[in-house]
Amino acid sequence: MSLRKDLLGLMRGDSQADRVVPRSGQSARLTLATSAAMAFLAVFAMALSMASGRLADRWSDALAQSSTIRISAPPAELEAQTWAVLTVLEQTPGIESARALSDADQQALLAPWFGPDLPLDDLPIPRLIEITETTDGYDADGLRLRLAAEAPGAVLDDHSRWRTPLAEAAGRLRILGWLALVLILGATAAMVTLAAQAALSANAQVIRVLRLVGARDSYIALAFVRRFTVRALTGAAVGTGIGLLAIAILPSARDTAAILTGLSFSGTGWLWPLIIPPLSAATAFTATRIAAFRTLRGLQ
């Protein structure tokens, strides 16, 4: 009944022992198909989890801690108001740094839309100040009030702040993805347990004969365990393969912020789904082993 012996026997394989339990087409096909389906779903749960994880990281790192101030004023006042804003910002708690974009920076920002030869000086282009906040953040309403007093042309655009709940949601989605993965494995275990129990009951007469000729329960159990483990492994490998293929051919867009087009793996992330087949096999091994010993104890 030792686990180590079972694992060794599982790997060694024993074609003769495999034959003592008749092949039951129905339960074999069902186990294969269900494992494949579960692995397919697991790939998507994993992709969802990883994609939302990346999204959460990006949103919370890059965006949630930056905002901009836009100053629109007649060219004569622009310089003075810029100074006023920078002074206010310096005195505001929660602001790590503030930087006025140079003409060259602004030119670079606008180039994609208007071309490189934009005559910036002739246009009433607002000045942009980039703010990076500390982790504690600043009081946006208080800052707005002070800006209205000191620099009437300044508008605080904390567009990124509304992304904080989005980043949180993405974080939750990542956890939900992992939870779905655990549930899928649990369902696989339940399904394999039921299939193994059905197979054991259907083979009560075979088990009787095996016992009469001196087979130990561990031998009988292993015959079933090996079969279900191999089926789960094969099914899961097929399901994982199809799942990966499906994700690989999903249309991808540059805008990776969109959850739909971002549903993919990146870099070494593609290796993660490879743990699904062995994980399914381990689940099937454990589930069948428990079911087999419980059923064998009950069979007189």
Binding site: A17, V209, G214
Partner: protein, 225 residues
């Protein structure tokens, strides 16, 4: 080999067998007779721990039957060759594999020589049917296959339940001779049978004790045969 002390067994509340006290010595040859329904099969099942005594004590190879674990039972069965009255086979495997089954399940499958297996199958006259599945065999063929399976492990004790029930007289003698040969090699043999002619034939070849089950008791019936 097997020792019974006031052992009893009943399928329900009523005991079917009771007051069984006997000793099956190593190398002995026993016949077990009695009317149909007397409890011969039940007695043999007690000997290989398919049934456990409801009273008294049975010891098999020195182990108390009621104290045996599942693995312990499996281990003693590897030392006992049983010919079951209803010939239990795996119907999905060909005859050869069924006969080699006791070796397969103890992972001694690699040890059996193909030639030995074939010789044994030839001995019981089944060479032509070696690849047939058990359900395709006649009753007599099944019994012979069961005997072959019972002795392939080179067991210390052979329990045969009506091993000649479905075969003609010539084949009966052939099987009897096989069992007598094995007994001469030191194996203990117990044969349950109705066939008095077989017992008489055996007595010319070997020193056999005859046990009779009557009224739930075992009595020695040596002289009257």
């Amino acid at each position: 080999m097997i020792e019974m002390q006031d052992a009893a067994y009943g399928y329900g509340a009523e005991p079917l067998l009771s007051g069984l006290s006997l000793h099956l010595a190593p190398g002995s040859f026993h016949f077990l007779t009695g009317p149909s329904g007397a409890g011969k099969t039940t007695f043999l099942k007690l000997c290989y721990a398919e049934l456990l005594p409801t009273g008294g004590q049975i010891s098999i190879f020195g182990h108390t039957a009621t104290g045996l674990s599942r693995d312990g039972i499996a281990d003693i069965r590897q030392r006992i060759g049983v010919v079951h009255q209803d010939c239990q086979f795996l119907d999905h495997l060909p005859l050869t594999e069924n006969i080699a089954l006791p070796l397969t399940v103890t992972s001694k499958g690699g040890l059996v020589q193909e030639s030995n297996l074939n010789e044994l199958i030839g001995w019981v006259g089944l060479s032509a049917r070696a690849n047939a599945k058990p359900p395709e065999l006649s009753g007599g063929e099944r019994q012979r296959a069961a005997l072959a399976r019972a002795i392939i492990m080179d067991p210390d004790l052979i329990l045969a339940d009506e091993p000649t029930g479905n075969v003609d007289w010539d084949m009966s003698l052939r099987l009897l001779n096989l069992l007598v040969e094995l007994n001469k090699l030191g194996k203990t043999v117990v044969i349950a049978t109705h066939d008095l002619a077989l017992i008489r034939a055996a007595k010319q070849r070997v020193q056999a004790r005859v046990l009779r089950i009557q009224g739930g008791q075992i009595i020695s019936a040596g002289a009257d045969l």
